[in-house]
């Protein structure tokens, strides 16, 4: 065999290291800019005396002084914390109960119930809030029907507990997901030990299984708490009409309500929300490292003993069904019905009120149609761009010698601390002050940026475990065969990572389709999305078109999930 001439190697060789470094620096730098873009304007604005786009502002603490001088702000803080506590409580009780009944007992049809329980995660929080309003609101169909039949409806969604019920049932699936894996891992021998001492099944569950799940419960409780602080839709639909203000609605009304928004107050309030959530996330991070010590992953999957529910088996099953009917089926059926009727009341049969008017309205105005096409483009194209970008971040963090890869991981996870509405305000301001990006105003690209930034942690978390499963020796061997870092990534790792990247894309598509909170400050004629158009109709009291758009959004979700499943299945069969 003739030796391969050195020149052939030199051609690809020189500059290889620089190319790797250039790509890594580009990805790291873009991530930093993307995450910092909304944060820096907010922090800056909170400390200057004038709107940030005006000259002549001076550094001052005055904004904070004024904010804390406003008595409304104290009720904003206490309302926000109360709602977050109540939501967390409801979500945790439900989520833990799901985990125990679906993973540790002989409940019938567990497999089906497991997927049903996750359905609320596919629906936008905005749609959930609207649909609850349509059925369980003060003039909702179910509320009126109950009043008609029993004289009174014993619930009121316009209270902290009412809102917590809407939010908590929506977040319970998240708690369930975290607790399910730890419920599966509870060592059956520990439970057996309890049982041999004469404790009954339920007693064992209560005194042994649940304490063993405690780390997962605490972790997901913090997650829900943060989620409820960020929640915009529920407070907007159920709090604002009766004057109960929260952090998010405070920002919403101060930023969009008045004729001339008070930039200083807005900046200070947003900064405080950021700080609160950052602190909570740091606590969560510390808990997670500690929680690692509790979790003992067994190498061998052992068959678990399922607690016998006995005679309660079918009643509990029915309870599960009833729960899902009440929190999801009825509201969604209601909003679907509302979309094809002129109005919805128990006094008249809905069939007498049937109409296509709501859909006709949406399809006859460019702006409304555009909001649907924009949403679709942002989800398909923007979701794809975001997926590729975040996959590259994961590569740099886990598979490179980039000097700042630890810092990049922190940057990638930080957006969890940035509520959607804060991200929206921040990016809006960034467009005002950063020269050269003003053209993005009113385009869908600013939405793509905002949604991408918000979704980095989700996709990073979805891709990382799969990446770490791919042996490092595979890319190392490519390197020693002569491939530089980028070639090894492109030809070896990325192809092997395809399934995880596809799952991440599905996740991002769905969350881009649902996203609305970061868009409320970013939309203007031209880049409306389904969520912002729904909010505009809502503000005018037009429930019909809102319902029609909700139905469209759900239909798009269902079609996409179905198509993704088919695609995945056909690939697995090859």
């Amino acid at each position: 065999m003739a030796s391969i001439p050195i020149t052939a190697r030199a051609r690809h060789g020189d500059g290889g290291l620089n190319r790797a470094l250039a790509i890594q620096a580009l990805i790291g730098g873009s991530a930093l800019i993307l995450v910092a873009a909304p944060l820096v304007p907010i922090l800056y604005q909170s400390f200057v005396s004038r709107p940030l786009y005006e000259d002549g502002g001076i550094l001052t603490l005055d904004n904070y002084v004024r904010l804390f001088g406003d008595s409304v702000f104290y009720s904003v803080i206490s309302n926000s914390i109360l709602l977050a506590l109540a939501t967390t409580l409801i979500a945790c009780i439900l989520g833990v109960a799901f985990a125990i009944f679906l993973e540790r007992t002989n409940l019938p049809f567990r497999k089906t119930l497991r997927s049903i329980v996750l359905w609320p995660m596919y629906v936008s929080q905005l749609v959930i809030a609207f649909s609850w309003f349509v059925m369980y609101g003060p003039s909702g169909y179910v509320t009126l029907l109950t009043q008609q039949l029993f004289g009174d409806a014993p619930w009121n969604l316009y209270t902290i507990w009412g809102m917590a019920a809407v939010g908590g049932t929506g977040m319970a699936p998240l708690v369930y997901l975290f607790c399910a894996s730890s419920a599966q891992r509870v060592d059956a021998t520990l439970e057996d030990a309890g049982r041999t001492m004469g404790a009954g099944s339920l007693r064992v569950l209560w005194s042994i299984s649940i304490p063993l799940m405690r780390p997962a419960i605490i972790y997901s409780a913090l997650l829900t708490f943060i989620g409820s602080l960020e929640m915009l839709s529920v407070p907007l639909v159920f709090g604002r009409p009766v004057g109960i203000e929260f952090f998010t609605t405070y920002l919403y009304s101060h930023g969009l309500g008045g004729i001339e928004p008070d930039y200083g107050i807005l900046g200070a309030a947003a900064a405080i929300l950021l700080v609160i959530i950052t602190v909570l996330l740091i606590c969560q991070g510390m808990l997670l490292t500690k929680a690692g010590r509790f979790v003992t992953l067994k190498g061998k999957a052992q068959r678990q003993k399922l607690a016998d529910l006995g005679a309660a088996r079918w009643p509990v099953f029915l309870l599960f069904l009833l729960y899902n009917v009440v929190i999801l089926a009825i509201p969604l059926a209601g909003i679907a019905l509302r979309s094809v009727t002129t109005f919805l009341t128990p006094l008249m049969a809905p069939f007498d009120l049937l109409t296509w008017e709501n859909f006709n309205l949406i399809f006859s105005y460019d702006a409304y149609v555009r909001s649907i096409t924009n949403s679709l483009i942002i989800s398909t194209v923007g979701g794809a761009i975001a997926t590729v970008f975040i996959a590259l971040i994961t590569l740099v963090v886990h598979r490179s010698n980039f000097r700042f890869r630890r810092q990049l991981e922190f940057i990638a996870l930080y957006p969890r601390a940035i509520p959607g509405i804060v991200a929206g305000i921040g990016l809006f301001w960034a467009m005002l002050i950063i020269p050269g990006i003003g053209w993005m105003h009113g385009t869908i690209w600013i939405m793509v940026l905002a949604f991408t930034m918000r979704s980095i942690p989700t996709a990073f978390g979805a891709i990382s475990p799969a990446l770490m499963q791919i042996s490092e020796e595979l890319d190392k061997s490519a390197r020693s065969c002569g491939a530089d870092w980028w070639t090894a990534c492109r030809t070896i790792i990325l192809p092997l990572l395809k399934p995880a990247i596809f799952s991440a894309y599905v996740l991002l598509f769905l969350s881009f389709l649902k996203e609305y909170s970061s868009a409320v400050f970013l939309f203007s004629p031209g880049n409306e999305i389904i969520g912002t158009t729904m909010l505009s109709f809502w503000a005018n009291g037009d429930t019909g078109p809102v319902a029609a758009l909700s139905v469209i959004q759900i239909a798009l979700t269902v079609i996409f999930v179905f198509a993704a499943r088919q695609l995945l299945r056909s690939h697995q069969n090859v």
């Binding site: 065999m1 030796s3 391969i4 052939a8 190697r9 051609r11 690809h12 060789g13 290889g16 290291l17 010698n401 042996s471 020796e473 595979l474 190392k476 061997s477 490519a478 390197r479 020693s480 065969c481 002569g482 491939a483 530089d484 070639t487 030809t491 070896i492 192809p495 092997l496």
Partner: protein, 359 residues
């Protein structure tokens, strides 16, 4: 031309000294083995040569190409070193066929069309895997994967062949066949090879020279015969086939290396080789269990070393027995086919089999 030189090479992970000041010259065409227990730094050394690990200090040079020099700040990335590395896990790319695996390094070197196909065919022929070109790695047995991994490395004609325990995932029988085959191939190609293993038999059978490593340091560098017959220390003597160690003091050492050692019980032992230390120094006499013979009666002549002892234990090894003896306070293991019915025996061993090592 492709001689490899390591000067004072070190790699520290915080306080862990994975390799600590290795000096080594591998001659062109030589088969050199890094041998040592798991965790002694063999892989780290190999990966440092390949450029996959950045050492903390020292120099790596291949011929006139400096790969790494900590003082001059030189670090050549792995893709520009042209080292062929075969991993313990083979690291075949699962999404590519055997053929595509082999094509990869050639494509990177811009070797096109017919030339590429010819080289792939040649390399697969070399490892007797030509019929499997279209298969995916998971459709191959462990031994076949190992050959493909080797072919993928040889196909681009690396200047250095680096092998990290390439046979450890094969079963015992296959391992012996692969060992002979690999050695034969290396001699044919005359490619400078560094072979990493923790298996002393593999090392003895294949190598031109062996570098024995312990805790990140190189403790002996010599031919297999020399390593076996003249281990440089108790660690080497015990790691390369186990050894009995008898404590004593050096009585006399001649210029040719032969020596006399006074054991703690007073018995004098003659050894074929000893390191150059002062008379009276504490030393160990090393002798392998298979070289210790046992006899019921005291042998008539005494042109070998002799120790009276008591049998304290016996275990059956299949073809032979292993006995544990107590010889005046020193415990000795001996392997023999004979069965003994009395505990009192005489242990003898040739002076050619006794080596003095430092404790």
């Amino acid at each position: 031309m492709s001689e490899l030189v390591l000067e004072n090479l070190s790699k520290h992970f915080g306080d862990v000294r994975a390799i600590d000041g290795i000096n080594l010259t591998v001659a062109d065409g030589e088969f050199l083995t890094l041998l040592g227990p798991s965790g002694c730094g063999k892989s780290t050394t190999l990966f440092a040569i390949a450029g996959l690990d950045t050492p903390t200090g020292g120099i790596i040079r291949a011929g006139n190409n400096v790969f790494f020099d900590s003082t001059k700040g030189i670090l050549v990335p792995p893709e520009k070193r042209n080292c062929g590395l075969v991993f313990q896990s083979y690291a075949l790319w699962p999404h590519m066929t055997v053929e595509q695996n082999l094509a990869f390094p050639l494509k990177i070197r811009k070797v096109g069309g017919a030339d590429r196909a010819r080289r792939i065919a040649e390399a697969l022929d070399l490892v007797e895997m030509a019929p499997y070109a279209k298969r995916y790695p998971h459709e191959l047995s462990g031994g076949q994967q190992q050959r493909v991994a080797l072919a993928r490395t040889l196909v681009f004609e690396p200047t250095l062949l680096l092998l990290d325990e390439p046979l450890s995932n094969l079963d015992a029988k296959l391992r012996i066949r692969a060992r002979n085959w690999l050695k034969e191939l290396q001699q044919r190609l005359k490619i400078t090879t560094i072979y990493v293993t923790h298996d002393q038999i593999e090392a003895l059978a294949m190598s031109d020279r062996i570098a024995v490593m312990n805790k990140g340091e190189m403790v002996q560098l010599a031919t297999p015969q020399e390593i076996y017959t003249r281990p440089a220390g108790a660690f080497v003597a015990d790691f390369i086939g186990s050894s009995n160690f008898m404590k004593g003091k050096m009585a006399r050492r001649d210029a040719d290396g032969t020596a006399e050692v006074a054991l703690e019980g007073g018995t004098m032992i003659s050894a074929i080789w000893a390191p150059d230390v002062k008379p009276g120094s504490d030393v160990l006499v090393a002798v392998r269990p298979e070289h210790v013979r046992l006899a019921v009666a005291r042998p008539a002549n005494d042109d070998f070393n002799l120790l009276p002892g008591r049998i304290t234990g016996r275990s059956y090894l299949g073809a032979r027995y292993q006995y544990a003896l107590d010889a005046g306070g020193t415990s000795i293991a001996a392997e023999t086919e004979d069965a003994f019915d009395r505990p009192e025996v005489f242990a003898t061993f040739d002076r050619a089999h006794a080596v003095v090592v430092l404790p």
